[in-house]
Structures are given as C-alpha cells and as structure tokens.
C-alpha cells in the first residue's frame, strides 16, 4: 500500500494538481459571468413584479373611496362602484372555505398520520397531484356539467363555491399535510411513549402544533378563491341580478370582483359609466387583497416555525453546524 502512496506523490505534477493557470483563470471567469447572469435574471424578475404592482396601484388607487367599495355600478351617473361584486366574492369565499377546510384537513390528517405505503395511498396521492394540476377551466367545465346541468343548480353562487371547493382541495390537503409533517416525529414518539393512543397523539400533540400551518392554508386558499375567474364564469355567471344584490340566496347568479374586471375589460357592459375607472379600481382592490393574504400567510407561517423551533436543545449562538 505504501508503494501506492509513493506513486501518488511522485505523480503530483502529471496529475495536473499544480495549478494550470489558464484553466484556473477560465474557471474564475466563468464563475463571474454565471454569477452576473443569474443575478441579472433575478433582478429582472423582481423589477418586473414591483413595477407591475406600482403601475396597477397608480392606475387604480385614485378610484378608491368608501363609496366605491360599497355602491353598485351606475348606468346613470359617474361614481359607481363595486360593492355587490365584493359581496359576492366574500360570500363565495366563506361558502367555499366552509366546504374545503374540514375536507382538506381531514384528508391531510389521513395522509400524514394514518396512510400506510401501498396502492391505495399511492392512488390518493396521485389523485391529489392530478387534481392540483388540472387547469382551472376544466373544473369550470366540470362544474357546468355536474352542478349546473345534472344537479340543476344553474348559474349560482353555490355552483361556483362547490366548483372552487374541488379546485382548492388539493392545495388545502398539501399545505395542511405539510404542516403536519413539519411537526417533529419526536413529538409523536414522546406522546406514544407516555401511553398516548394514536388518536390522542394526533389530537393533542400533532394538530395543535400544526394549527398555524392550517390557518396559512386557509388564508392562501382564500386568496385563490378571490382571484379565481375562469371556473366562475362557467358556473356562477357574469351578472348580478339588479333586484337581488347583497342577497344571501346561494342559488342566485353572481359576479365576483375578478370576473367583473374581466367583463369590464373584455366583454364590456353597455351604458356603464366610468367602466375603465371601475376596472382599474377593482384591479387595485384585488391586488390589495392579495397583498394582505400574503402578509397574513407569512405571519402564520412564522408562527408555525416559531412554535416548532428550539426543539433541538439550546442552540449555541447561531452556529448552524455541529461542534
């Protein structure tokens, strides 16, 4: 073996171990170029995003006022607003979350805590992924066939909410399941070792720790419901009946804020005063809601991490490495 080692050193030079300055310099140069290119790409993305937000707000903010948010669009005077659309958006949001949350969390608990590896679990997992990537318009078509035609619900808030429930279920399941999986296995072991049953362990040790994650999932799902358009055009419709604004009847047709923006920009509403101003204002409101949702989600995610942090003994002043 020693002979092998002597070989090693004798050949230090042939091995090219001694610096090949040309290659070195080239490697350095490539490193710099790559760094610049990747930084530039990232900068582009960030600049576009913040530019876009700036432009939207600049166009839309001047339109915003309390009356804009609370009154209906007017065909007679200028100064109409988006009150009924906000109402419908919120109504669908509440209705849909009411269906999605229990279903999603239940399924997530099953997947995180009960499911054993096997064909059935794979099938559920595959279905979840498939549902998650089916385009939203396909859900719209499904809603149009099943809820509108087969169940005779017609264009209605309820049809829309049910369609969105199916649409959002995979997201809810994945986020809730993720948050349950972030709960360290050591909590489960500790609870079991103290004589807890599996159900007690889930109820008392896992779910409470995961609640911030579940709330995050609800917030993010809510954000998607507010912004969703295509499936709602096909299931809830694009009009609000003038004599049923602010109606809680779930079988009414409805038009959400996002759909309203599209209708104003693409379809047009003949005779509506201030259509462009209303569209810009509505877009700004949508954007503000989305920003709020993101802040909320970040807050709850932070809570989750804070709650679960520090499990690994007293961290020494920041050293993330061992020793």
């Amino acid at each position: 073996m020693s002979a092998d080692v002597r070989d090693l050193v004798a050949s230090r030079e042939e091995a090219g171990a001694v610096m090949n300055m040309g290659a070195r310099r080239r490697a350095k140069f490539n490193d710099t170029v790559a760094t610049v290119v990747m930084s530039a790409a990232s900068l582009l993305l960030v600049v576009v995003l913040f530019g876009v937000i700036f432009l939207l707000l600049r166009a839309g903010l001047p339109a915003l006022s309390w009356s804009f948010l609370t009154t209906a669009g007017s065909f007679v005077n200028t100064g109409g607003g988006i009150g009924p659309q906000i109402f419908v958006s919120m109504y669908i949001l509440v209705l849909s979350l009411l269906f999605t949350t229990p279903l999603g969390v239940g399924a997530a608990i099953y997947m995180a805590e009960y499911a054993k590896p096997g064909r059935l679990t794979t099938l559920i997992r595959f279905s979840t992924e498939a549902l998650a990537s089916v385009p939203s318009v396909v859900f719209g078509v499904f809603g149009a066939i099943v809820f509108l035609t087969t169940f005779h619900l017609g264009f209605s808030v309820l049809s829309g909410a049910l369609t969105l429930t199916l649409l959002n279920l995979p997201l809810m399941v994945r986020l809730a399941e993720d948050s349950m999986r972030t709960v360290p296995e050591s909590y489960r072991e500790a609870s079991l070792a103290l004589g807890g049953t599996r159900w007690e362990t889930i109820r008392k040790a896992v779910v409470p720790s995961a609640i911030p994650g579940i709330v995050t999932a609800m917030v993010l799902t809510g954000g998607r419901i507010i912004g969703e358009t295509a499936p709602l055009i096909l299931t809830t419709g694009t009009t609000i009946s003038p004599n049923a604004t602010y109606s809680l009847n779930p079988l009414q047709t409805g038009e959400t804020l996002a759909v309203h923006v599209w209708v104003l920009k693409i379809v047009g509403v003949p005779g509506l005063q201030d259509a462009q101003k209303v569209a810009n204002g509505a877009a700004a409101v949508l954007l503000l809601i989305v920003l709020l949702v993101n802040i909320g989600a970040a807050y709850f995610t932070g809570r989750l991490q804070k709650r679960l942090s520090g499990t690994v003994g007293a961290p020494r002043a920041g050293g993330r490495k061992k020793d």
């Binding site: 080692v5 230090r12 171990a17 610096m19 070195r24």
Partner: protein
C-alpha cells in the same frame, strides 16, 4: 510573493519543492473564531508539522471541528462565521481576504465526518477535482484515478465497476472514495473531520491503516472523538476544552501523542483521557 506567482513557481519547480518542503505545514497564531458574537475558539497558537498526523481531541462543543474547518475556510459558508488571527499555509495567509479560496482548498484537501460522494459514477467522483482544472487527456485521467483509488485502498474493491454509481458503495467504501477524491488533486495537507465516526469498526480500522500509510507523504490533521483512535493513529495530539464561563474552545495541551496519553501535563487532559470529564 503573491499567490499567483507562487503557484507558477511551484509548477516550474515541481517535485523540487517537495523535497525542500518545510517541516511546518500550517502555522496558527492567536486564532480566534466567532459565530456572530459568540467566540467558539479562542487564542489558538499552534504549529502543525508536515508529514505527520496531528490529532485534535476534546469534549464535544470545544470547537475542534470549527478549528479544522477554518483551515481550508470551508466554514466560511456559515454566514455568521468569522476568523481572526494568523493562519498560514507555508507563506500564504489563509485568512487574508485576497487569498484565493479555490487554491487554498486545492492544497488543503478535506474528508468529512459523513462520506459525501457525489451522485455520479465512482470514476467521475475521483476525477471531479481533476476535471475542474481544464481538459486532461483521458488516458492520464484514468491513470490518476487509478493511483488515487489505490492510494485510498479502494482500487481492488471497485476496479470492475468504475462506471457504477458511487452511492451503491458501502459506508466505509464511500468514505475511502472520498479520500481518493481528495487525494486525486494531490493536496499537501489533508484535513479529516471524524472520518470514521459514521463507520463500523472494520471500516474504521481500514481507514486508520490508510491514514497511517498516507502520512509519509501528506500532512494530516484529524479531529476525533475517539481517544483510542487518536492514541493509535496520531503522532501529535492537540487537546482542546471549552471554557466553562464563556464556552469558548481553547487548546490546553499540545504534545507528542505518546506523552499526552501516558503522561499528560494538564489536569484537564488527564481527566478527559481517563474519562472523568466529558
């Protein structure tokens, strides 16, 4: 001399520099290592002999790995890490901001606690460092890979499956592969961070034999938790402990391994090696 010109000289003089290599490979003077405001290692002054095995021992948390990992500046990856003091390889200042990290790491190889082969073929793993340095004729590449694998006592195990994934090897083989990978670029110093702690006794023994073989030509610095390993495998032992007040690691004793284990001068060393502490 700047790093660049020194490297050029080295390439011209070649093996002549080997012969004239100084007795000291690494010199540390007043080294302090920090994570943020926490001082992990304080006031280490230490000379590391060339072509010898230096073992760093001490209770967990005393900063031995931090110290080792600052020798090739791999610890720079920890965002809040900071080193102060003088750390020299020959006459290159390892800590100077202008120092070329890539060159430092080519000259100071490292083997980690857990084997970390790349998810590539065995051949590509060993050839990795060589390919970084520009194109090399295939035949020469093959030769160097073989030499390195022989040097790491792995050639016979893998010669028939060089194109298979390195992840298919056992833990001990993977660790030897990582040693071969480090040897392939022919570093002057080899740092080993508890190289056998994740291995079974038999692989451990093989790694130790290998280290012992390598020391004729390489300067080896090894961190170990295992005192028996330090006693068996090293020439010089550095004992570190941790200050009870500020938890900063420091060197309490340096000496010939034989002396440290049979006749320690420091009370903490004695307690540690006889197991009364840590």
């Amino acid at each position: 001399m700047s790093t660049a010109s020194r490297a050029t000289v080295a390439s011209q003089v070649g093996s002549a520099t080997q012969v004239a290599a100084p007795e000291l490979a690494l010199r540390l003077a007043n080294v302090n290592l920090y994570y943020g405001s926490f001082r992990a290692v304080k006031d280490v002054t230490l000379d590391i002999k060339a072509r010898a095995i230096t073992a760093i021992i001490g209770p967990s948390g005393c900063g031995k790995s931090t110290l080792l990992r600052s020798l090739n500046r791999i610890n720079d990856r920890t965002p809040i890490f900071r080193a102060e003091g003088t750390l020299k390889l020959g006459d290159i200042d390892i800590c100077a901001p202008t120092t070329d990290l890539v060159e430092i790491r080519r000259r100071i190889g490292m083997v980690f606690q857990r084997p970390n082969p790349f998810p590539q073929s065995i051949f590509d793993n060993v050839a990795f460092g060589l390919k970084l340095n520009g194109r090399m004729p295939r035949q020469q590449l093959t030769e160097v890979v073989e030499q390195s694998l022989r040097g790491a006592a792995l050639w016979d195990d893998v010669k028939d499956k060089l194109d298979q994934s390195a992840l298919g090897l056992s833990g001990g083989q993977q660790q030897r592969l990582c040693i071969a990978r480090a040897l392939a670029t022919r570093p002057e110093v080899l740092l080993m961070d508890e190289p056998a702690s994740a291995l079974d006794p038999i692989s451990t023994l093989r790694i130790e034999e290998l280290i012992n073989d390598l020391k004729r030509q390489y300067t080896i610095v090894i961190v170990t938790h295992n005192m028996q390993q330090a006693a068996r495998a090293s020439d010089v032992t550095v004992m570190m402990t941790m200050d009870t007040a500020d938890r900063a690691g420091n060197v309490v004793e340096v000496g010939d391994t034989n002396q440290i284990f049979t006749n320690p001068r420091d009370r903490q060393t004695e307690e540690y090696i006889t197991g009364r502490f840590g």
